[in-house]
């Protein structure tokens, strides 16, 4: 019941905003109230889950097409991402406080987006999973297309088509899996898929998930969508939507096709390793601050893929850590860049110089974010990336040097951005720039707190995911169901 409310509440909030939010103030406050209530509800649901013993991988019992798809479950794999979604939705609402152009529609779409993403992470049925996965596209498409920057039309269409191509493959994969197992659920599947079907299903599903992640050759929609999206859209896109890819691989593709997943591991590793290096190099070459953050997402999600490819319990835990950490860090980074661009009306790194003196609070936060992004120990980026590199070394030996190079390059592009934007010659133009406001500090605070907590005590996530991860790893390593 709590879970149903968790999915329904954002949609109810969206409808309320659409009906009552004629003027600016009510639309803001209703949506903030809905986001906060959702966050509280997510807290209750997760506390409730940790208080009980839940099945390691909980999916609804039995059911072929023809049964009710609306079945929800919360377990160790979904809990961290549900919490992340709820948190970032609050931040995104605060980040779009200044939206004056059709605020009602903006806030309603943002809440609908939150609801759809929640449904992805809570779905216990393959059909519902797919429906929610696709439903995420619609609000995001309108958010980018209506409130984005100069090139928004192109970016919105590219985002939609790329992810839609991926999900079309995924749909056939989902249908083949249902047809092969005779069920729309995961646990207690009546029949295990044959190896050849597993291969087909895995790659069809992976096509959709790798686009979403995004993995190296199919990442090209990401920089454009991130750069053109409004700040709230970028926060949700980077913070939450990319996680759907990793979550899908872990939760749906690997358990359904364990043999095919194990077989595909080297390819996944290669894609991930290329992603870490390529994303970092591309970030290094950017002149647009928002684009730099966007490419850093490609690099970070590469680590997720590297960690997943190891197929070990540590690796899966590392992937989850990297995902949660990246959600917090990228959310904060896009929030900061967005709030800066609102004031300066430029995102050009060459023009943004020497901000340390004029906007000290913003600069402090930006330095903090960059340090978290490059994986400074005691901040959230560190444990996940360390674990994934270590696990990758066990599984793929010297090939994992590529991932290490990714870590080093991450330090380079982050520090370069900090040096250029925060330090350097102060410019007359930015001398009287307004610093981060109290509202923005409040929005950033939970993210900062989360980054520190996760850095110091990664066990808060790994303990939650442990039982689910153990089950999947057993499957992937050839154990019986």
């Amino acid at each position: 019941m709590t879970l149903l409310a968790l999915v329904a509440l954002p949609f109810v909030g969206a409808i309320l905003v659409a009906l009552l939010g004629e003027r600016l103030a009510p639309s803001r406050f209703i949506s903030l109230a809905a986001a906060l209530a959702e966050a509280a509800l997510a807290g209750v649901a997760i506390a409730d889950m940790s208080g009980r013993i839940v099945p390691s991988l909980s999916w609804a019992p039995g059911g072929i097409l023809g049964m009710v798809p609306l079945s929800l479950a919360l377990d160790g794999l979904s809990a961290p991402l549900v919490a992340l979604t709820a948190l970032l939705a609050v931040v995104a609402t605060l980040a779009s406080w200044g939206i004056a152009d059709r605020p009602r529609a903006h806030h309603a779409l943002l809440l609908a987006l939150e609801g759809a993403v929640m449904c992805v992470f809570l779905a216990a049925d393959l059909v519902l999973f797919y429906v929610a996965w696709e439903a995420v596209l619609i609000p995001m498409y309108f958010l980018i297309g209506l409130w984005g920057h100069e090139n928004r039309k192109h970016a919105a269409t590219k985002f939609f088509l790329f992810t839609f191509v991926g999900s079309a493959f995924m749909l056939i994969g989902v249908l083949a899996a249902i047809s092969g197992t005779g069920a729309t659920v995961l646990s207690d599947v009546p029949r295990v898929l044959t190896p050849s079907t597993q291969r087909l299903v895995f790659w069809l599903m992976a096509a959709g998930m790798l686009v979403k992640l995004p993995a190296f050759p199919v990442h090209t929609w990401l920089p454009e969508a991130h750069v053109e999206a409004p700040t709230a859209g970028s926060i949700m896109l980077a913070g939450v939507l990319l996680k759907m890819g990793g979550y899908g691989l872990m939760r749906v593709a690997a358990p359904l096709c364990p043999a095919a997943f194990a077989e595909a591991a080297p390819i996944l590793f290669a894609l991930g390793a290329i992603g870490t290096v390529y994303g970092a190099l591309a970030a290094l070459a950017q002149t647009d601050l928002k684009r730099l953050v966007a490419y850093s997402s490609v690099a970070h999600m590469g680590f997720v893929l590297v960690a997943l490819a190891t197929g070990t319990a540590m690796g899966f835990a590392a992937a989850m850590l990297v995902m949660v950490s990246h959600g917090l860090v990228a959310g904060l980074a896009f929030f900061l860049v967005g709030s800066l661009a609102d004031r300066t009306h430029t995102r050009h790194i060459a023009e943004l110089r020497g901000l340390g003196g004029s906007v000290p609070r913003w600069s402090t936060l930006f330095v903090f974010t960059s340090l978290a992004s490059l994986g400074l120990p005691a901040l959230s980026g560190f444990p996940g990336e360390l674990m994934s590199v270590l696990e990758a070394f066990k599984a793929f030996e010297w090939w994992s040097v590529a991932a290490v190079a990714g870590v080093l390059l991450a330090a380079t592009y982050n520090l370069r951005a900090v040096r250029a934007v925060v330090y350097g010659e102060p410019v007359e133009r930015w001398a009287s720039l307004a610093d981060v406001s109290v509202r923005e500090m409040l929005a950033a605070a939970p993210l900062v707190l989360g980054i520190v907590v996760l850095g110091v005590w990664p066990g808060v996530v790994t303990a939650m995911t442990e039982p689910a991860v153990a089950t999947i790893v057993q499957l992937v390593q050839g154990g019986v169901r």
């Binding site: 009710v68 798809p69 429906v131 297309g145 056939i172």
Partner: protein, 486 residues
């Protein structure tokens, strides 16, 4: 209340009643129209269609398939499809048919009524002669509706459509001759099943191909599609509401009954199934890519219709129970699309190219939202009925081993967003085109109001698309399939 409910249920059991209602209304409409009461004539047929849709819906819920009149089945899923046919007919009549000249409007209303009944008969036919007569009636109504538009272009296109259609009719005559020869005069499907399995394989297959050609022409599948874009482009959008969807339901259901359920559904006709699969794939690929280039919304819908028939044929190949659901969802969505075009065009001389819909989200938010729902449903995005149709058809295809066909269909759906999405993009993301005349002379508000076409019938249909696409996620798919499975 229960007395009334009993009456409705009893009436819904009379499967001939909706057709007779609408036919009589159409006949009276012609008379009323002759006395110059055009508005009353249109309203009368619309009212009869709404009643017929209601009765059919109740029949779909509460009855099973059984003979309605000799040679025609009714009830169950067929009644569900008939309800959709009458619904789009009513919507078409309620769209005010502004674009059609006053003198012709009553006749067009009668034609739509007649066409709706013919569609119901074609969908439920279980006798080849009945099927042929219904098919030709639908065709004649279609020629008339296409030609009823303004200007010479519509007459020319109507003429061309008639000429091509007569070739297809020729194939049908050959098929009838062959069937009569094979079956010694028997034309009922039940009897034909035995006849076909008893006769030489080649003869039976060739006969099947002849029937398929005639039906595929009416449905507008590749390579018999060339009339579709022209007809969709010139037809008055108000009439297009009916013409685009309803005959499609009927023709696809006729194919479905013949090739997936009865005469040619046996295992031994694998060759026909391969031919259908190739036709389906070619329709999907051609329709989607040709639609990508179009700037005219009507013409774009025409090319996309070819692709939509392709998806339906995938369902026929795989024997998917969701095939009627898929075409019904298509008919409703395309009716909404044409209805929005009609509402947009009302009061303006032109207005169906992509440039004309630019920025209308600001000036007419309801219309833009309704149109977006139609476009998303046609693409097959979840939470709409269009998705459920595709889900069931592709699932059956994968299940029956036609995975490649399902992949072609899924990729085709992605391509289709390239043009359906363009409409949404133009409505929401573009600035309106400033027309010199509009800037010069802004219309007084009330006059603008009077000239706006009706949107509410289509808003209701769009709501139906969303509700029927969402509720089954919580209740299970059983009831949706039951009311629309044949």
């Amino acid at each position: 209340m229960s007395v009334l409910g009993g009456w409705v249920t009893d009436a819904a059991g009379l499967f001939w009643l909706p057709g007779v209602l609408v036919l009589s209304a159409a006949a009276i409409a012609v008379l009323v129209d002759a006395f110059g009461r055009t508005g009353a004539a249109v309203r009368l047929v619309a009212l009869a269609s709404v009643l017929a849709a209601g009765l059919s819906a109740v029949a779909a819920w509460s009855t099973q398939l059984r003979p309605a009149v000799p040679g025609v089945y009714g009830g169950g899923g067929l009644a569900g499809c008939a309800a959709v046919v009458y619904l789009v007919a009513a919507a078409s009549l309620l769209s005010s048919l502004d674009g059609i000249g006053e003198s012709r409007r009553g006749g067009v209303a009668a034609l739509i009524g007649l066409g709706a009944v013919a569609c119901q008969v074609l969908a439920g036919a279980v006798d080849l002669v009945v099927m042929a007569i219904a098919l030709e009636t639908v065709a004649v109504v279609s020629y008339g509706l296409v030609a009823a538009g303004r200007g010479n272009v519509s007459r020319e296109v109507g003429m061309r459509y008639l000429m091509q259609g007569s070739v297809a009719a020729g194939f049908l005559v050959f098929a009838l001759a062959a069937v009569v020869g094979l079956g010694a005069g028997q034309t009922g499907y039940e009897r034909l099943v035995e006849v076909v399995s008893g006769s030489p394989g080649a003869a039976a297959s060739v006969t099947g191909i002849l029937v398929l050609v005639a039906l595929a022409f009416k449905a507008g599948a590749f390579p018999l599609h060339s009339w579709v874009p022209d007809a969709y482009e010139v037809v008055e959008p108000g009439a297009g509401v009916f013409l685009a969807g309803a005959p499609k339901i009927a023709a696809v259901l006729a194919v479905w009954v013949l090739f997936a359920r009865s005469v040619w559904a046996q295992e031994s006709f694998q060759n026909l199934r391969v031919a259908l699969a190739v036709m389906a794939a070619a329709s999907i690929v051609f329709g989607n890519f040709a639609a990508l280039k179009q700037r005219d919304v009507g013409r774009m819908l025409g090319y996309s219709a070819i692709a939509q028939v392709g998806y339906a044929l995938v369902g026929v190949v795989a024997g998917a129970v969701g095939t009627p659901l898929l075409v019904a969802a298509y008919a409703i969505a395309v009716a909404v699309a044409f209805g929005c075009v009609a509402a947009l065009q009302a009061g303006r001389a032109k207005g169906r190219s992509l440039d004309d819909v630019k920025g209308i989200a600001m000036s007419r938010p309801v219309l833009a939202a309704v149109m977006s729902v139609a476009m998303l449903s046609l693409t097959g995005i979840p939470l709409t009925l269009g998705f459920l149709g595709k889900l069931w058809v592709f699932y059956a295809a994968v299940n029956a081993g036609w995975t490649w066909l399902a992949l072609v269909g899924a990729i085709g759906s992605v391509v289709s967003f390239g043009y359906y999405g363009k409409v949404i993009q133009a409505m929401y993301f573009s600035e309106p085109e400033q027309r010199a005349d509009e800037v010069a002379a802004p219309q007084p508000a009330d006059e603008m109001e009077g000239r706006r076409g009706r949107v509410w019938p289509f808003a209701l249909l769009a709501a139906l698309l969303v509700v029927a696409g969402t509720i089954p996620l919580a209740t299970g798919f059983e009831w949706v399939l039951r009311v629309l499975s044949v």
